[in-house]
């Protein structure tokens, strides 16, 4: 009977058949309503707020009472050179983060997989993902202390006679992107590696045995079995992360930025906070948010298309 129902669902269904099927699956439907409601309330309902981006919005008048001004807000936004600076910084930092955190996570997972001593493996894995549970405010203070004038990095460099006086790492504008990238790698590598490790465990052990019989060493196994085995996972995660490229980047930049490097540290989120919330210009904040979402969707579509062409793996 179930098989029939499924086959039926693939064709056009009559109203009666639909009702029958719904009745049979009603517990499933009730359960899925929850998730539908969740998605609707928290992801789609707030989109009504996008109207603000097209209005001369005043909190007193609300969304319904404010005057519509068309694309004027977007025009102001796109004419602001500071906005494009924040777009550049967001893109640059997110790409650095994406590239480095992906490479390091894969590398770490593959290497960790080769460790044969179980206790050592578990220990290293636990230690490596602990920083993930620190909040950024704590992580940033650790960074401040590490990179400060009396911090361990400066002390080491001075002891090794690389430098004579402490360097102020936070005063080099171009260096900031790299500090953020390193911070993200330090904090997230262990955590990101978990999913790759899981993917590795699902690879058929017979393949490894076959390789061993054919005389393949560790490198060969890694190159020709492990990496191709998790390739699909890597591609799916990459597509998902590309969609988040404009989404990431608030706390670190907000907490570690300063006036000397502000042209390189401010991201779209900080721009939204500064002009949208702090200056109560909610319209411009909303417009910047809409822009970010639109770009993200386009990016996802592009990566998905590329993935579709170059391999079988894709998101949709």
């Amino acid at each position: 009977m179930n098989a029939n129902a499924i086959r039926g669902s693939k064709r056009r269904m009559s109203w009666k058949a639909w009702c029958k099927q719904a009745k049979e699956q009603k517990s499933l439907l009730v359960l899925s309503v929850l998730f539908f409601a969740y998605g609707f309330i928290f992801c789609y309902l707030p989109l009504v707020g996008w109207l603000i981006g097209f209005q001369d919005y005043r909190p007193r008048d609300g969304i319904l009472g404010s005057k519509f001004v068309g694309l004027q807000v977007f025009q102001t936004l796109f004419e602001d050179p500071e906005f494009w600076l924040t777009v550049r910084n967001t893109l640059a930092m997110s790409l650095l983060n994406l590239v480095f955190s992906t490479i390091f996570a894969i590398l770490f997972a593959v290497l960790l997989n080769e460790v044969r001593c179980m206790i050592g493996k578990k220990f290293v894995q636990t230690v490596s993902y602990l920083p993930h549970f620190l909040s950024w405010i704590v992580a940033c203070n650790i960074l401040f202390d590490t990179l400060g004038s009396t911090g361990i990095v400066n002390e080491l460099l001075m002891k090794m006679h690389v430098i004579t006086a402490p360097l102020n790492f936070f005063s080099y504008p171009q260096g900031f992107w790299w500090i953020v990238a390193i911070a993200v790698v330090w904090k997230e590598t262990g955590w990101n590696a978990i999913i790759y490790l899981a993917a590795i465990t699902s690879i058929d052990p017979n393949l490894y045995e076959a390789a061993a019989i054919d005389g393949g060493g560790r490198w060969v196994k890694m190159r020709y079995i492990t990496l191709p085995g998790i390739a699909n996972t890597i591609i799916i995660l990459l597509i998902l992360n590309v969609g988040n490229v404009l989404n990431s980047g608030f706390e670190v930049q907000y907490l570690m930025g300063n006036d000397v490097i502000r042209d390189f540290s401010q991201t779209i989120d900080i721009y939204v906070l500064k002009w949208g919330i702090s200056q109560s210009n909610y319209a411009i904040g909303t417009a910047a948010g809409i822009f970010r979402s639109a770009v993200s969707i386009v990016l996802i579509l592009i990566t998905n298309a590329i993935a579709k062409r170059t391999s079988d793996t894709r998101l949709f």
């Binding site: 517990s27 009730v30 359960l31 309503v33 929850l34 409601a37 969740y38 309330i41 005043r58 909190p59 007193r60 500071e82 405010i137 203070n141 401040f144 400060g148 004038s149 402490p166 102020n168 936070f170 005063s171 300063n258 006036d259 000397v260 490097i261 502000r262 042209d263 906070l273 002009w275 949208g276 919330i277 702090s278 200056q279 109560s280 210009n281 909610y282």
Partner: protein
């Protein structure tokens, strides 16, 4: 059996649904619960409960609900308030979020974000309430009420808490901005007369050369600059003081010609930043100055290694006192005293202006539209201004926290004094309601200071030995004497109450915001530049592109309005 399972599944999912929606409904029920208790309190005579949010970081202890003074005040006034403070956000962010959400606490002080609150219609119009409450009505003079009404757009929406003085002014502490220096530096040079910036840096340079390290081996830092976010006043506004003008904040006002001057472009401004640039190159200015955060700055100061800086007293002193006490840094002469510095000799400094000379019309405590019992809230504000309540809030409980002498003067023993300066004790036993209306100057009895640290007997007792010696050497009794006291320059004072009410919807406000952005970006670069002159020129080009004249001309109009308004209402 099967149907029982289904019912269970249905109930489970229903329970989950309720959980998912609890977020929205919870908010409503809590606010309606609050009003219910407030209105029932009225009929039964029980204690009313209010909430308050202050968009400033908490300084001092966070009062516990069980504090005896809080309970006594609740008995006295019939109400109590749960106070919350700014944490981890700037005031603009916190208030911006609040406006976007549309829910407010009963009492609200929006600090610098007050204009946004006014624009959003968050405050209750208090015009008809003020006359009903005698303590509030006499809190300000008719002219001051008129000035407030003028500034708040025709009605009273909020009451500035720190602008009313009662009795003779009695300030002992310079709570404001100054060039600060550690007493050990002055003592080492045998307390020289320091009145210019050149002398100040020369002294620091010489001291640093002779004493590169502290007793425990920590290297001394000559001069540090805080420019973290809104606290960059420590870097940017010194030129107005260096030219001998008081803290009008955003501009200089020439009192004779009644003309607004932009202090960012004066020759003094250039001299000041050039000096900072030179000292930075020499290594006297802390190389981390422009990248440090407030927390790093405070921890740096707390080690006692920083010889001098510009700051507002309230911005550093209260935060470093505990660390200074535990390390006994006063014995090494690390306490800070202010110096009367101007750009050149012959200019009279006005770093300090007399208490009560500032009517801060730009912010204050207001009652919000979310408050369901406006009369009750006003009654509470009124009752907090009685002699008894003010004594409880500032001094504590008689007999336990202070004693009354035969002359009616309040005194504290050493033990009482130590208790009351201890944060744990403050949280558990006292309740200053520090952001509710209070007086500077004296209690309604006319004898005692509102603030214990201004009671002459207590002030001297709290002074550390190194500061005492230093004061004696300069013939000063207190911090204010180090600088000299000044009357307010005119009825317009201070102009910053207008500039902080501007927002980006007007050309003046847009210029003001852009000027700040520009200064945030360029001032550190100017100070660190290899070639000062060319970097200064770049800065000036960028600065002029912000159209500062839009801002200055709006300030000029406001100045003229204020002068005219004061004359008409006198």
């Amino acid at each position: 059996m099967k149907s029982a399972k289904r019912i269970l599944a249905f109930m489970l999912s229903a329970a989950l649904m309720v959980g998912a929606f609890a977020g929205c409904s919870g908010k409503q029920s809590s606010s309606s619960g609050g009003t219910a208790s407030a209105s029932s309190a009225k009929s039964t005579g029980a204690i009313k409960n209010f909430t308050a949010f202050f968009a400033v970081p908490l300084s001092g202890a966070d009062t516990k609900d069980t504090s005896e003074v809080k309970q006594k005040l609740a008995e006295l006034t019939g109400a109590q308030v749960k106070e919350t403070w700014l944490t981890g956000q700037t005031c603009d962010e916190a208030i911006g979020m609040m406006i976007a959400g549309g829910q407010y606490p009963d009492f609200l002080d929006g600090s610098n974000a007050t204009p946004q609150l006014l624009q959003a219609g968050a405050f209750v119009n208090l015009d008809d309430y003020i006359g009903k409450y005698p303590n509030i009505q006499k809190y300000f003079t008719p002219l001051q009420w008129a000035q407030l009404r003028q500034a708040e757009g025709g009605h009273i929406y909020y009451i500035p808490q720190f602008s009313a003085t009662y009795g003779e002014p009695n300030e002992t502490i310079h709570n404001d901005e100054a060039f600060w220096i550690q007493t050990r530096v002055l003592k080492w040079a045998n307390y020289p007369k320091i009145t210019t910036m050149d002398q100040y840096f020369d002294l620091i340079e010489r001291y640093l050369k002779a004493n590169p390290k502290m007793a425990n081996g920590t290297p001394n830092i000559g001069y540090t600059i805080l420019c973290d976010d809104w606290r960059y006043f420590c870097l940017e506004n010194a030129p107005e003081f260096l030219d001998g003008y008081p803290n009008d904040g955003s501009v200089i006002v020439d009192p004779k010609q009644q003309k607004v001057i932009d202090y960012n472009t004066t020759p003094t401004a250039k001299l000041y930043f050039k000096k900072l640039n030179e000292e930075y190159k020499k290594g006297i200015v802390d190389p981390e100055s422009f990248t440090q955060k407030y927390d790093q700055y405070i921890s740096k100061l707390s080690t006692g290694r920083v010889l001098g800086m510009i700051d507002q007293y309230w911005d550093f002193e209260y935060s470093i006192v505990p660390a200074f006490n535990t390390q006994k840094l006063d014995q090494q002469g690390c306490d800070y005293v202010p110096l009367p510095i101007t750009i050149k000799d012959g200019i009279k400094n006005q770093w300090h202006t007399k208490d009560g000379s500032v009517l801060n019309v730009s912010s204050g405590i207001g009652i919000t539209t979310s408050c369901k019992d406006v009369d009750g809230a006003m009654q509470f504000l009124n009752d907090l201004l009685s002699q008894e309540a003010l004594a409880l809030r500032n001094w504590g409980i008689e007999g336990r926290d202070y004693s009354v002498g035969p002359d009616g003067l309040f005194t504290r023993s050493d033990e009482q004094d130590n208790n009351c300066n201890n944060l744990t004790y403050q949280a558990a036993h006292l309740c200053p309601y520090s952001y509710f209306p209070t007086f500077t100057g004296r209690l309604p009895d006319g004898k005692n200071s509102v603030m214990p640290n201004r009671q002459p007997s207590l002030f001297e007792k709290t002074l550390k030995q190194d500061v005492k010696e230093c004061f004696a050497a300069y013939g000063a009794k207190n911090y204010v004497d180090m600088l000299g006291n000044n009357d307010k320059p005119g009825d317009w004072y201070p102009m910053y109450t207008y500039s902080s009410s501007l927002n980006t919807s007007t050309p003046a406000g847009l210029a003001w915001t852009k000027m700040a952005e520009c200064k945030h970006k360029w001032l550190p670069q100017v100070c660190m530049a290899k070639d000062f002159e060319s970097e200064w020129n770049n800065y000036m080009t960028a600065y002029n592109a912000c159209k500062p004249q839009d801002f200055i001309s709006a300030m000029q109009t406001e100045l003229e309005n204020r002068i005219k308004f004061a004359q008409e209402n006198k």
